[in-house]
């Protein structure tokens, strides 16, 4: 078993020289994982852009069904949660775990608000009979373009996958909050919360591009 030892307050695995060496390696690992997240969502964005240029009117018709005001509120909520997330890390760097827990709590709360708003958006669409792809029932919606389901296929895939990542982010933040309450973090050791923070900011970054793409430009 790879045992570990304490170096200036940080538990360092044997194969690292000291805590900074471990910290820099962990950060690089986190950034590599973020690159894969960006590539995965990027694939969806590329698909959307290609089909948007193939069927511009159908996408415009699809976008009319989206309520940009809800999207706008969601963007504000997510930006605020990004702000509180950054504060969470800041407080941990300043050895104030109490404030950090509050900031993280606010972030989770914003995440929950975001999901609730998304829940209303989805149920409203289901109520109108708008489902992804072939499941879209054409009698209720009576679309001008027969393949409107394609647009909503993209809409539900992109916002659904993003929503799933928000949920995963919220679970990670609660886990980090629990560790914070247990007092694991201090100014020399806060890598887990910084990792979760970067993951949360990536989610916000993707929503920043998703909002104009789906709701505005549509």
């Amino acid at each position: 078993m790879s045992t570990s030892r304490i170096v200036n307050g940080v538990e360092v695995a044997t194969h690292y020289k000291d805590d900074t060496h471990q910290y820099l390696s962990n950060k690089e690992g986190i950034w590599l994982f973020m690159a894969t997240e960006i590539l995965m969502f990027g694939g969806l964005f590329i698909g959307y852009i290609i089909y948007h240029t193939m069927y511009p009117e159908m996408f415009a018709e699809g976008a009319k069904y989206l309520d940009w005001k809800l999207g706008f509120v969601n963007t504000l909520v997510l930006i605020f949660s990004s702000f509180t997330m950054a504060l969470g890390i800041y407080f941990n760097q300043k050895n104030q775990p109490k404030k950090a827990v509050m900031a993280l709590g606010a972030t989770v709360l914003c995440g929950a608000i975001f999901m609730v708003i998304k829940y209303f958006e989805y149920t409203h669409k289901f109520h109108l009979g708008i489902y992804p792809g072939q499941m879209l029932n054409l009698e209720m919606v009576k679309p001008v373009h027969q393949n409107l389901g394609l647009y909503f296929g993209f809409y539900f895939c992109m916002s659904g996958l993003h929503g799933l990542h928000v949920l995963i982010g919220m679970c990670l933040i609660t886990w980090v909050m629990i560790r914070n309450i247990r007092g694991d973090f201090h100014s020399n050791y806060y890598t887990p919360i910084e990792g979760v923070g970067i993951f949360w900011h990536i989610i916000d970054l993707i929503w920043i591009f998703l909002f104009p793409l789906l709701y505005l430009v549509g």
Binding site: Y23, L24, A35, T36, I50, I79, I198, V217
Partner: protein, 117 residues
């Protein structure tokens, strides 16, 4: 070949404080306010999109890119990160652009055949 001691030896430990960068509190507040402002700007541009019709998409996405830069540089501290992490982050976008360019090259140079039965 191996006599000289190498300069950039990754194994050696850096001095402890340079690795941990602490961004001052008010920088976070300023960035958050800027982000809120830009979001309002995006929506404002959206509401008057008839006038700036050909560029409305371009404007929306350039504002989004500025917001993205703010989040990445300050909230994610990429501004103070090592060059390697910056390279990793940007490489993701490069390979996406590569996929996009070559795929659209194919899709938009296909000569559409129409059946004339």
């Amino acid at each position: 070949m191996g006599t000289h001691h190498s300069t950039h030896n990754h194994g050696a430990a850096h001095s402890s404080d340079s690795a941990h960068h602490v961004t001052p509190f008010n920088v976070y507040v300023k960035v958050a306010v800027a982000l809120f402002a830009l979001t309002f700007l995006t929506v404002a541009a959206h509401s008057i999109r008839e006038h700036l019709q050909p560029f409305s998409a371009l404007i929306a996405f350039s504002i989004a890119t500025v917001k993205a830069y703010l989040v990445v540089a300050f909230f994610m501290h990429l501004k103070y990160e090592t060059n390697m992490n910056r390279a990793i982050f940007i490489s993701g976008f490069l390979f996406l652009a590569l996929l996009f360019i070559l795929t659209t090259l194919d899709i938009y140079t296909r000569i559409t055949q129409n059946s004339v039965l």
